[in-house]
């Protein structure tokens, strides 16, 4: 059972427990009214309006007080208030007894207090016996005066003379005794119930307090967990960024290393050649043997120079591809030529393709597409790298582009291992990866699909294990307004996000959490 339903049960129980004494008291009050009326009628006495008035007041006050007290257990004066109501009841009962002529004020109180006291201290049979004893002891006084044993006027001095008639006094005594016995039983019984109730309420209260403490704690915990999650997410995003940046850098480094190695060696060769030539030319005379050397040196220089051209061309091309890919010079919305982006992506990862992967470019006629080019290049990069990695030996990656009305489609198809149907639906989940921890922390496809999503497009996948996989990127030719109005968060504000094209990832997730 949950703590909440237990608490609700406790509250209902408490309410019922508070209503029970009201009903019992009302019963006693009505009983007093009925018995008093019958008795006075039997004695042919007029009905005293004070008697009615007091009974009705008793009923009204008790009902109102208890009704108010229910649900206000937490007010600071709850128990003093309860005591006040109880004292008032005792007073009303004493006045009632007095008005029907049971005895004097004093006698009635003598009668009342011990009776109620006994019941409060010992609820049940012992309390009842004590009450009866108290009533009988007071009754003995009244009877004693009626029969002349107690000096006349000691008890009845305060009451109307007609009530002093011993027969009447005895009858009144029995009526009030029964009423008082009832009241004392009720009060005694419910005093115990009240104590238990107070205890229960205290327990419920402390349980409520504990619960709210628990809640506060678990709230603090969930807040801490949320903060940790956000941090972990930020870390993941940055490590995904770093992973794709790392792959990019590794590719570029490798691609630049070869021409750089050649240039570096050539530079040294040229220096040496010049030095050799200087040595030969030092004595102004070039003999036959030295001429042979000069020819050799010039031949080497020729080879070096043609290689330098090749190496520099290669590096310039690389830098150009990088610029197209990263669009470091233009990081805003642009009407991009997707083919250019695909070509530059292929150039950057060329070293992973070599002769192993055949790239088939089935390019259709594409309009320029309004997009964040650097992000779209990130998409191409992720999908092409995935395609290449899914092929273990030799294979083919086909890049197909088509335009249909207001939409363009870029399909990247591989002849790799394919994705089993069982996990096909999970591939866009964060952290899902088949490549082990080292590769990309499984954020690649998530980021890819988020970028496509935020461009108002969609990313679809079809796969057949053993045959290959097709990822299709569908993009609208015009960027939807929500993307243009900066709801690709962080794009304009955060330049660092720009370059790796995973802009707004964390912001997007925040809004998901918030919603």
């Amino acid at each position: 059972m949950s703590p909440h339903s237990a608490l609700r049960r406790d509250a209902t129980e408490a309410q019922r427990a508070l209503h029970r004494p009201i009903r019992a008291r009302l019963g006693v009050a009505l009983w007093a009214l009925a018995l008093g009326t019958i008795f006075r009628y039997a004695m042919s006495l007029p009905l005293d309006p004070r008697f009615f008035g007091l009974t009705l007041l008793w009923i009204a006050i008790v009902a109102a007080a208890f009704r108010w007290l229910v649900g206000h257990q937490e007010v600071p004066f709850f128990f003093p208030l309860r005591f006040a109501v109880f004292s008032f009841e005792v007073l009303v009962a004493a006045w009632l007894a007095h008005y029907i002529g049971a005895s004097s004020w004093l006698a009635t109180l003598f009668l009342l207090f011990p009776a109620i006291e006994w019941n409060m201290l010992y609820p049940g049979a012992w309390g009842f016996a004590g009450s009866v004893l108290a009533i009988l002891a007071t009754g003995a006084l009244i009877v004693g005066e009626a029969v002349g044993f107690v000096p006349a006027g000691a008890l009845f001095s305060g009451i109307a003379p007609e009530y002093a008639d011993p027969r009447y006094a005895l009858g009144a005594f029995f009526v009030s005794a029964s009423v008082i016995a009832g009241l004392s039983t009720v009060v005694g019984r419910y005093a115990e119930a009240g104590r238990r109730l107070a205890r229960d309420l205290g327990t419920a209260n402390s349980r409520l307090f504990e619960l709210s403490e628990d809640l506060r704690e678990s709230h603090a915990e969930s807040e801490a967990a949320y903060r940790q999650l956000r941090e972990a997410q930020a870390e993941l995003v940055s490590s995904a960024k770093m992973a794709s940046l790392g792959a990019l850098i590794a590719g570029v480094a490798h691609e630049i290393n070869t021409p750089l190695g050649a240039l570096n060696s050539n530079h040294d060769t040229i220096r040496r050649a010049i030095h050799k030539l200087q040595v030969i030319l030092e004595d102004d005379v070039v003999d036959e043997h030295e001429l042979e050397d000069v020819r050799r040196i010039v031949k080497a220089l020729d080879g070096v120079s043609s290689t330098n051209n090749m190496a520099m061309d290669r590096m310039l091309k690389m830098v150009d591809s990088l610029r197209t890919f990263g669009r470091v010079d233009r990081s805003e919305i642009d009407h991009a030529d997707l083919h250019e982006g695909l070509e530059s992506t292929l150039a950057i990862i060329a070293h992973t393709l070599k002769d192993r992967i055949t790239v088939v470019k089935d390019f259709g006629d594409l309009p320029r597409v309004e997009c964040y080019p650097n992000q779209i290049h990130q998409v191409f990069m992720n999908l092409i790298v995935n395609a290449v990695q899914s092929i273990s030996g030799k294979g083919t990656v086909t890049i197909r582009t088509r335009a249909h009305g207001d939409e363009v489609t870029v399909e990247i198809e591989d002849t790799g291992v394919g994705i089993p149907p069982a996990i096909l639906s999970r591939i866009f989940d964060p952290g899902f990866t088949t490549k082990g921890k080292r590769m990309g922390m499984g954020m690649g496809l998530l980021i890819t699909s988020q970028i496509v999503d935020r461009h108002g497009g969609r990313l679809a996948v079809e796969s057949e294990p053993g045959k290959g996989t097709v990822f299709s990127v569908h993009l609208p030719v015009r960027l939807p307004a929500r993307a243009r109005l900066g709801s690709i968060p962080g794009v304009a504000a955060d330049g660092a996000d720009e370059r790796t094209g995973v802009a707004g990832f964390s912001e997007a997730n925040e809004s998901e959490v918030g919603g």
Partner: protein, 159 residues
């Protein structure tokens, strides 16, 4: 036999610019005979008819990786000193290369010409020594055989 005395260096790299840079440098600085190939398969075919002292092979080649190439070459030219040139400082590959191809040296791109020259000179020396040892052993075996024959003839003459 002057050709046999000029040591031969075989360079195999799918990147023409690297092969040419190496060749230019070595032709300028050394008197070795330099053979360059951009295809490891062609190099293996041609190497049958060529004496080779030192081989420098690139690691990342589309037809065949450098380690496989050097392993194949080892079967054909066991005396040749094998050097791997690589863009990756990859310990795993280095160990594999040393174990599988009996590698003499592991060079990283970009390389230092001075260092390369030193490594090649040592490689040539090593290979020359191996060749010389081979020649001597063969000569020794020939002499031994001759002696054996003489002894046989002597024994036959006396008996």
């Amino acid at each position: 036999m002057p050709e046999a005395q000029t040591p031969t260096v075989l360079i195999v790299d799918d990147e023409d610019m690297v092969a040419t840079a190496l060749r230019s440098f070595l032709e300028l600085e050394t008197s070795y005979r330099i053979l360059t190939y951009t295809s490891p398969e062609r190099a293996l075919e041609d190497v049958e008819s060529e004496p080779v002292n030192v081989v420098i092979a690139d690691f990342m080649m589309p037809e065949m990786d450098g380690i496989t190439f050097l392993r194949n070459l080892r079967e054909r030219k066991p005396q040749a000193t094998r050097i791997l040139l690589t863009g990756y400082a990859d310990k795993e590959n280095a160990i594999r290369a040393i174990n599988e191809a009996g590698l003499y040296y592991y060079l990283e791109k970009p390389w230092s010409n001075e260092h390369l020259k030193l490594v090649i000179r040592n490689g040539v020396e090593r290979s020359t020594l191996f060749n010389e040892l081979d020649t001597r052993v063969r000569a020794l075996e020939g002499a031994h055989q001759e002696l054996f024959d003489i002894r046989k003839r002597l024994v036959r003459a006396f008996l």
